[in-house]
Amino acid sequence: MPLRETEAIVLRTYRLGEADKIVSLFTRQVGRLRAAASGAQRPKSRYGGMLEPLTYIRLWLFERENRDLLRINSTELLESFFAMQGDYRVQLAAQYIAEAAERFLPEREVNERAFRLLLAVLRALKASREIDRPLLYYNYWLLRLAGFLPQLEQCCACGRALAGEEIFYGDETQGLVCSRCRTSRSRKISGEAFSLMEKMRRSPLDAWMASEPLAPAVREARRLFETWMEACAERKLVTLELLAAES
């Protein structure tokens, strides 16, 4: 039974029987996986608050031959995101991050950039308690790193360059379209929202947040990305519905 050490972010937990939990994790060294934590439901569990959603931990895993489910041997707290989730909006944003990560990051695939993205976005939420800019940045980069980001420079129907054009998006297409290719269901996006994307591509989150004011275009772009997230995710994201009710 080899023991593996890895860093991880807890995405969520499920009860397993009377005493144990199954933990859905995004690990830095092994990728996304599920592992069993024995005794984690007990009040005196040695895991304490370490398996709460979005906690950043170091853990030691047992890999068991012929078994899909790994077993957690021990954990160590690296950074807690417990306190910020006392604010329902921040809790909602944090759990959306977890649900989207489960949906877009394939199991057992190491993705160092996605791991750093999750940490950076959680830290931005913790520091700012604001959800719009961190979530927009997360949506953009998660889609990009997972290979789902649509073509943003050209009309996805006719290929015409979009800079300087009127730009639209719709539920039925999975990219941006020009004014000639728009349909009756397409919605227009502003030039400001469009130009946000180029800036997000070039800067780390903290630098981008420092330079990008919280303008209406941020929320507009967030909504556009959430339409794409929903379209790519195939099944509805539960947290996305609650987010829509919040904003």
């Binding site: 969520r12 029987g17 009377e18 009040p43 005196k44 040695r46 895991y47 304490g48 608050g49 370490m50 709460e52 959603p53 906690t55 707290l77 807690s80 417990f82 989730q85 006392g86 604010d87 329902y88 809790q91 909602l92 759990q95 959306y96 977890a98 649900e99 539960v238 947290t239 519905e241 609650l242 009710a245 919040e246």
Partner: protein, 199 residues
């Protein structure tokens, strides 16, 4: 084809759907029922049906009850000025066992948990807010679970209720009685420090 006769295998299948019951336990219980007297089996099935037919939610506090309002809400000896808010009817039982709380209850039937699709709209809060309107309630004790969901719910409630001039308190979170400080993780330790009291 099942190795058990039809009715027996149907009973085993039903029992297996209960929490904590696996194939072996289900078989043991099914054979026990088969051997038991007919009256025993009738009493069991009657008890199950009665739960389904007679138990409902108290209109005031959402607790499970046979009569509405429930025994707590209709007991004039209980302190009408304090309401303890809990996530599940189970929690009411746990607090009653202490014999130290004599106020009323309110059951939310859940906690804010976006991953399970539970936002403020899904909690049973409307009748709680109604109860506060009368002005006789002076304190709300929030006894939700000591986890992210319970904490978010507690803070959400306090933001909602404090403006009405009602005191909102939260049960202490921290080191379990009988354990040792040396094994507490930092999150638990921090909560325990926050919840300290003068002695």
């Amino acid at each position: 084809m099942s190795v058990f006769a039809g009715p027996l295998s149907r009973l085993i299948d039903e029992l297996k759907r209960l929490p904590g019951i696996g194939q072996k336990s289900a078989q043991r219980i099914a054979f026990h029922i088969e051997r038991a007297a007919r009256e025993d089996a009738e009493r069991l099935s009657q008890a199950i049906l009665e739960v389904k037919d007679k138990i409902r939610l108290c209109n005031l506090c959402n607790n499970l009850t046979e009569q509405d309002p429930c025994e707590y809400c209709s007991d004039p000896t209980r302190d009408q000025s304090v309401i303890c808010v809990v996530e599940t009817p189970y929690n009411v039982v746990g607090i009653e066992r202490t014999r130290e709380f004599h106020g009323l209850y309110h059951v939310l039937h859940g906690a804010l948990s976006p991953l399970q699709g539970i936002g403020p709209e899904q909690l049973r809060l409307k009748n709680l807010m109604e109860r506060l309107k009368s002005g006789s309630v002076k304190e709300i004790i929030v006894a939700t679970n000591p986890n992210v969901e319970g904490e978010a719910t507690a803070i959400y409630l306090s933001k909602l209720i404090k403006p009405l001039g009602v005191k909102v308190s939260r049960i202490a979170m921290g080191i379990p009685v009988g354990s040792e400080l040396e094994f507490a993780d930092e999150v638990t330790m921090l909560k325990a420090m926050e919840g300290r009291r003068e002695i």
